[in-house]
Symmetry: C2
């Protein structure tokens, strides 16, 4: 058993950010067993890595995978018009099984763009979990809870959220983890937030939440409770080092310090923030100065519309440079760190770098491509010049998921057919 | 002879922006001969277009193709440090033949990302012209002239610029056009600008120039002549409807009106402007309101680092939305228009849409891809969700340049080898 990659350049993303040239990587079970030269061990699959680059699988820390179903539904519209006019009516038509098709589609898109693990909150999550299981991906999933202050609704939401964690945490040979996700401070009562926190403590799992995405949210929060969203969450004791906070666009310096103090992980979603014109830009350099762990998310396909983390790394770096009038901020290596090491840290998984003993979540890029030559810098080319056409292989949890551009885990054609059928039904008046 | 594409969805980009479903497209010589259903004519090449989308070839109105050689050379550096420290020393080592390799590489990258035509200024342009000829692309090329006020240098530059136009304008069966390119108002004397204009009148060709890329440029211009760059160029009579002005980031409302009045075409380079942290954002909505023809450019690979117009369309739209806090500005259809119809208008070529009688510059996308499903909107998916992995075929000037991802016009491997050799030599101390 196992996979042996021969003669491959390895972007280790270890603590010294070493680049190994022409190394062999042996994978046994779901781990990286050995990295070296001339490894002689036998392996079931052998991959000729010559001319290829091995990269730690990218980790997408904020998405709603099944929303691929609504790709292109609400482009070029105001956020506060798009959802009520386009997305909520469409979501009302969504059946449980539809989510499975949408999530499978999203998993395929992510595999093809180098992502091996993602953090997701949405509804009908059992179906997303099934898609993760079938696609071979790794994911941390949560049922997204909203109570709008309604205690009956709250009870129901918590029940669904907890049942999901009980049913799926640790499933699919450990590829699926679960978390609790109260949607946002403006859609969740303090009671819901704290109950969710209590449950996350009980099960020892993460929490996901949307925070300070728009200026309106901050304005409303101040009006309602005299505090900005991060301040508010902190004041009720919600924040800790198992919280992944998505967006954090409109946070002040003192809120950045709170995030640091509580060990909150930030998911920076540059493409979504730009497309939805959230205004402002997440103060990433300030977060880094304060030692906050920053990661990257694509957000869902409605607000992006791609799930490519390659694109997100580039746009994330560009946005900071443009916003701060300084080409030096958020360099290529930092962007890659967000998408690998930091993502793994935020999701508490033993991945994010290619080192012995780490989970075998790796993708391979074909370096012989006009957009990746000359090979002046692999890191620069990966972050600023690559695209999914360069990705040839994906290995997740020690299993070969894509080989020379061919998806092995599921029948892609069947997924396409399933998705088109669902999309057609949802589109009908 | 000719090419017949059967049963293809066609994003015509005609004046009504029609989408044809399952149409046949017949190409004869270098033109689109006929679009219809069940075309029976015989053709040398027949392409099964089922499940594919035919799109007018994208037109990149600002690049320095051979600068692919320096991809990743000056990332995350200040503009005014990157060039003196990294690029100029490297350019000193560049021999004429090197430019051919760099330009060939850039052509391959552009073909693979849907671009069929580009506007380029650089040096050793005879070699770029050869690369264009060999790669099968269409291009408008100019020798980039700089005199810094030195009259001897000016004379020399004009001579090279004019010789290039005389030698190459209309060559490669008309695929190559030439233009005059005084580099920028801050590097060219009024004499050079006006001589270039005189020559462009004489030969009836375009002019290319960098304008108002940075705030420093505007500041220096005001200090030197009391006018902002566009005002200055207008005051000396340089501007007309054969000028393509790259960047135009720091232009005022009154300068936008001058651009409109003179019929100047703008090349908007969002990725480059963001990566170099030019500060500010080109006022595209204001340009559109005033009826200025806006197009897209990638700029060279040092300041991007990709030559993908797919990416540029998306980032260009995102940047406006983020900057203006309005998700409605620069919608997907407008972005596609910039990259097709407007680009063709700026370059004065009979292309930019798929209509009978137009030049046969077309690329095909494979719609069966996880990132392009569901097919809620082809335009949205193309602009916001596609990447080069979706592009299967490229037809330029009626010739098949790429077929199912295979480049037919040149031996790609040879180009890769050539480029690596050159890059290695340039990198040596």
């Amino acid at each position: 058993m196992g996979i042996l990659i021969k003669n491959v350049d390895v972007l280790t993303q270890n603590s010294r950010r070493e680049l190994l040239r022409g190394a062999d990587v042996l994978i046994e079970g779901n781990k990286i067993e050995k990295i070296g030269n001339n490894i002689k061990e036998k392996a079931e699959f052998k991959i000729n890595g010559k001319g290829k680059l091995a990269v730690p699988g990218l980790i997408n820390t904020h998405t709603h995978t099944a929303m691929t179903l609504f790709r292109g539904y609400a482009d070029d519209m105001r956020f506060w018009e798009a959802w009520p006019e386009k997305i909520w009516p469409a979501e009302k038509k969504v059946k449980a099984e539809d989510v499975r098709w949408g999530a499978l589609l999203g998993c395929l898109e992510m595999v093809r763009s180098g992502t091996t693990c993602f953090l997701d909150n949405y509804f009908f999550m059992d179906e997303t979990a099934r898609a993760v299981k079938d696609s071979g991906m790794r994911a941390n999933l949560a049922y997204g809870m909203i109570d709008l202050g309604d205690s009956a609704k709250r009870k129901k939401e918590l029940k669904i959220g907890e049942k999901f964690v009980k049913d799926f945490h640790g499933k699919a040979d450990g590829r699926i983890s679960c978390s609790f996700s109260p949607h946002a401070p403006y859609t969740c009562s303090n009671e819901l937030l704290l109950k969710a926190k209590g449950l996350s403590d009980k099960y020892g799992v993460l929490m996901q939440i949307h925070v300070s995405e728009t200026r309106k949210e901050v304005f409303d929060s101040i009006k309602k409770c005299g505090k900005r969203p991060v301040e508010h969450l902190d004041s009720i004791g919600f924040l800790n080092n198992r919280v992944v906070a998505a967006h954090c666009v409109w946070v002040t310096k003192s809120e950045v310090r709170i995030l640091r103090k509580r060990g909150v992980k930030v998911s920076y979603n540059p493409v979504s923030n730009m497309k939805l014109a959230s205004g402002g830009v997440a103060p990433i350099p300030q977060m880094l100065e304060n030692g906050v762990c920053v990661t990257f998310g694509t957000d869902g396909a409605v607000s992006n519309n791609s799930l490519s983390m390659l694109e997100t790394m580039k746009v994330g770096a560009l946005l900071q440079k443009a916003h701060l009038w300084d080409a030096r901020v958020l360099n290529a290596q930092q962007a890659l760190d967000f998408a690998t090491r930091n993502g793994a840290g935020a999701l508490c998984i033993n991945a994010g770098s290619i080192e012995e003993g780490k989970l075998a979540d790796i993708f391979l890029m074909d370096l012989k491509a006009p957009n990746l030559l000359p090979a002046n810098s692999h890191v620069s080319n990966l972050v600023y010049a690559s695209n999914p056409s360069n990705i040839s292989h994906s290995i997740i949890d020690g299993k070969l998921i894509m080989e020379e551009g061919k998806i092995l885990a599921v029948d892609e054609e069947k997924v396409f057919e399933g998705v088109q059928k669902v999309a057609g039904r949802i589109k009908e008046k």
